[in-house]
């Protein structure tokens, strides 16, 4: 079974972030990492491949420096990678990104496309559904368990009361949450092998996409202002463990929290 896993390079969550003059994240000021959610989608693709055979291709859209993130996915075991890169793509929104990813997927052969549930930078969590829409495929989103057999994919998905089991025929699009598995770390051997694996690059022209239909100028939304939220607190520290229960209860009562 051939699997494509879609990943994104995101700015390091733990780093201090800045805006550019036009209110975009200043990506040059922050180190890029593979979107933390995508570590789980890559791992899930590898585990499915180990069970069912086939190949795992990593697909990403991003600047050429995203190649570094892709190499990490290759180092843990993905077979090849495809990078869609074009200066016109910068600041693309959900719809433009979905069009590009769907166009790249149309050039590839797969039974399953796996996404991370969301990304740590935009937190949209809609790309899997949007890509499925453009490919005319079912989407099984927010999976915390995935089984593929007899031409079907079956997932578990948390609900308010427990979980649902959801099913769709292959080919389909799946998005996975971070609880689904424990991502492996790359071994030295894998890192060495990754350097030799195939990395294909597509431009917008290769995908037949009009540059005017993507990027900043095509966006359906616009950021007007961005402001830092003041989160400063003055912690009060209480160290008398014997009296702690009564102290906390008093504190909650005073703040009308109970």
């Amino acid at each position: 079974m051939n699997i494509v896993v879609c990943v994104k390079e995101t700015p390091d969550t733990t780093a201090e972030k800045k805006f550019t003059a036009d209110l975009r994240l200043d990506r040059s000021a922050v180190a890029g990492v593979i979107n933390p959610y995508d570590e789980y989608s890559v791992e899930e693709a590898l585990q499915q491949k180990e069970k069912l055979g086939g190949e795992v291709t990593v697909l990403t859209m991003g600047p050429s420096r995203a190649e570094e993130s892709i190499r990490k996915a290759l180092a843990v075991g993905a077979d090849r990678a495809v990078l869609v890169s074009d200066p016109a793509l910068a600041d693309s929104d959900l719809v433009a990104t979905a069009r590009v990813i769907a166009a790249a997927l149309k050039k590839m052969s797969f039974e399953l496309v796996i996404f991370g549930q969301t990304s740590t930078d935009s937190s949209g969590g809609m790309l899997a559904a949007a890509v499925a829409e453009l490919l005319g495929l079912p989407a099984l989103t927010v999976a915390n368990k995935l089984e593929v057999e007899a031409g079907k994919a079956r997932i578990q998905r948390s609900t308010d009361h427990g979980y649902d089991v959801v099913e769709a025929p292959l080919p389909c699009v799946v998005s996975v949450v971070s609880g689904i598995n424990l991502p492996r770390y790359p071994a030295l051997k894998g890192i060495m092998q990754a350097k030799k694996k195939e990395l294909l690059s597509y431009s917008l022209a290769d995908l037949g996409i009009d540059p005017a239909s993507v990027g900043s100028s095509s966006k359906g939304t616009k950021v007007n202002t961005a402001s830092r939220v003041s989160l400063s607190r003055t912690p009060e520290i209480f160290k008398d463990a014997e009296r702690a229960a009564v102290y906390i209860a008093d504190y909650l009562e005073r703040k009308k929290l109970i």
């Binding site: 499925a132 939220v229 209480f238």
Partner: protein
């Protein structure tokens, strides 16, 4: 095509087809924004008009009824087709939906299908630069920044709003909503819910809870989470946890707070045995009040808690549960 002045709300229902609180919140805000204009509500249920009176009390003047017995048996699929049909019927200037997994599935598909602008995780509306005159405030990066965003195109645009963002405004004796029956052409490839499993011990949902008690690796082993659950029960709180605990397999992923889990903003966040790694912090730092209990006086969580209690959670937690029971007059 220029849109009507109508605002369309997509009702968020339980699996039993009852409106969730967020549905009334969205209606209340839509009514305020519409300033006397039409507020439509789309209801996907076996008998949509049964809710008409209650929905009208919160501002609905038009009810788009998509009758069917199987809406809750699918993930997003046909619901997408229904929202599309309602958008075509209403030609609204704004569509409001709840910012959950279902809303995201529908919005993702619709945005791609119709080329719509989408905002998500919005917590407030504001006037400002926007094609429809309405902008939204959206907390980003774990709530450390707020951006105000508007739309660029003069057509139906989607805003997904977080539950708990808007005040309820109910007026009794509202005129009944005009019913528009929708004929929904189902064309989205479906993902069918083949089994719905109820799990014991799943109480208040984390996103909607006003109080959350979270336990970390300091609990030592899964059985000790009983201490957290007991306290949560007395407080009427939801139970949360950290990625480390989920990775250990002690608690399910849907309780994970933080970078790769949920981002929440309860009135009270009580962190027990949690050191406060940055990955956890980004999921809870905007809570109104943070109380932390940890035996390590140097734990980072004490730097961003309002009240930090240094001590043994195995002594403090049971004592606190008993103390709160006593104050609330709960026997036991």
């Amino acid at each position: 095509m220029a849109s009507n002045n109508e605002i369309l709300v997509v009702a968020e229902l339980t699996q039993e087809y009852q409106p969730k609180k967020v549905t009334f919140e969205l209606l209340s805000e839509a009514k305020r924004l519409a300033g006397g204009g039409t507020v439509g509500i789309l209801v996907l249920a076996p008998d949509p008009t049964s809710m008409a009176a209650k929905l009208a009390e919160y501002g609905a003047t038009k009810l788009y009824a998509a009758a069917g017995n199987d809406w809750a048996k699918e993930v997003a699929g046909s619901a997408t087709d229904a929202v599309e049909a309602a958008i075509k019927a209403a030609n609204p200037k704004l569509v409001l939906m709840a910012s959950g997994v279902n809303g995201r599935d529908v919005a993702g598909r619709l945005a791609a299908r119709l080329g719509l602008g989408v905002l998500w995780d919005a917590t407030a509306t504001a006037e400002g630069e926007s094609s429809n005159g309405i902008t939204f405030n959206v907390p980003i990066w774990g709530g450390t920044y707020t951006v105000n965003s508007g739309f660029t195109r003069d057509e139906a645009v989607l805003a997904l709003c977080k539950p708990g963002s808007f005040d309820l405004a109910r007026s009794e004796g509202a005129a009944p909503a005009e019913v528009v029956n929708l004929n929904v052409e189902r064309k989205t490839p479906s993902a069918l819910i083949v089994q719905s499993v109820q799990e014991e011990g799943v109480g208040v949902s984390l996103e909607e809870a006003s109080t959350v008690v979270s336990g970390g690796r300091g609990l030592g082993k899964p059985e000790n989470f009983a201490l957290v659950e007991d306290l949560a029960k007395v407080l009427g709180a939801a139970v949360g946890t950290t990625r480390a605990v989920v990775d250990e397999g002690w608690r399910p992923y849907n309780q994970q707070i933080g970078q790769t889990g949920k981002t929440i903003k309860p009135k009270l966040y009580l962190a027990v045995g949690i050191s406060g790694a940055i990955q956890h912090k980004v999921g809870m730092q905007t809570s109104e009040t943070i109380v932390a209990i940890n035996k390590d006086a140097d734990a980072p969580i004490f730097e961003f808690a309002d009240l930090g209690v240094v001590g043994d959670l195995f002594k403090i937690l049971p004592a606190l549960t008993e103390e709160l029971k006593r104050r609330k007059g709960i026997a036991g």
